[in-house]
Structures are given as C-alpha cells and as structure tokens.
C-alpha cells in the first residue's frame, strides 16, 4: 500500500528511549486520541505543524529529531 504521506518519524524509537512511554500516555500529553498517535507512527497521517511541535516538546527534542522529510521524490 502506498503511504499517504512522505513524512517519516521516529516517534516509536523516542517513546522507547523515554522509558517505554505508552502510546496512550503520549496521546494524553499531546492532547490527541491514541488512534492519531498510531496513525502518525504508521505514516498514515501527517500531523499539523502545531501538533508536531507538541510531540517534539514531550520528548524535549528539536522537530527534526521527530519528523523527517526525504530529499528525493523516490
């Protein structure tokens, strides 16, 4: 299946690096549903810039450490 967004992310790795944080806890701290966190992790949803910043703030890292955008169209 072709993923609807080219944006990739490291949320799963960051969650594990932060005490194996549960998706539900991250969702609570960002203020979204757990299903939205799952959709973002799986590349099925590209969050708004504001939500992206809120996620980065939870992990206390810059935005680039959470979300990546490939240079090529491939």
């Amino acid at each position: 299946m072709v993923k609807p967004t080219k944006v990739t992310n490291s949320i799963r790795a960051l969650r594990f690096a932060h005490g194996e944080m549960k998706q539900a806890e991250l969702a609570d701290r960002v203020g979204v549903t757990r299903q939205t966190i799952i959709a973002i992790e799986q590349g099925r949803y590209s969050p708004s810039l504001e939500m992206a910043f809120r996620i980065a703030r939870v992990f206390n890292v810059p935005l680039d450490d959470v979300f990546q955008y490939p240079d090529t169209d491939a």
């Binding site: 299946m1 549903t33 939205t36 099925r44 969050p47």
Partner: protein, 140 residues
Amino acid sequence: MSSEEKRSWVYLVVGVGVAAVYLVTVLSKLPGADVTRIAYVRPMLVAIGAGIGLGIVASIAAAIASPRGEAGRTDERDRQIHRRGEYVGFYVMSVAATVPLALAMAEAAHFWIANALYLAFVLAMVASSTTKIVSYRRGF
C-alpha cells in the same frame, strides 16, 4: 478504533440497514401496483425516524463500550476526516438531488419524487461515512 470512527461505522450500518428494510417493504408492493395508491409515507417516516433514533442509541452504546477515557475524545485528525466526509457527501447529495428535481419537473408521481429524494439522502450518507472510514483506515 476512535470514537468518531465507531460513529461513522454506526451511521453506515444503521443507515444502510434501515434503508434496505424500507426498500424491501415498499418495493415488494410495487409489481403491478398503481404507485399513487402505495402507502409509502408512513414507512418512509418510520425509516427516517428509526435511522436517527438507532444511530443515536448505537452511538451511545459504542461510547459506553469504549475504553475508559477514550469515549467522545476527538482531535484535529477527527475534525479533518469529518470535514472530508461531509464534503464528499455534499457533492453526492447535490448530484443525486437532480433526479427528484427532474422527476418533479416532469410531473412524476409523488411516490417517485419522495423515494428518489430518500435515496439521495441514503447515497450521500453512504458516501460520507465510507469516505470517513477509508480515511481512518488508509490515512490521507
């Protein structure tokens, strides 16, 4: 499954189910009958009322069955998907509504006009709910 996705499923299943029962009930009277004499008004009003009532009851039941803290919670993704679904539903309704309009201009029997309009509502609801469900499952 988020509460909004559950709600989309509820509306799709209830809407299609009620419409199917209505169509079978009314269409079974159609062969060889004079459409001006078919009593469709009461079944249609019951179908519309049942669709709304069952939709509300099933949504509440789905919310009660949801994990603690997840019932009724929505976010920007839910709102975007809702808008997308309503947008598609509006276009389907706009196109489908041309049929009862044409029937009215052709002075067709009220039976056909009312049923074409009811079908337009059902099609719009199916398109809207399906768009939302596909958006939830495949992403967008």
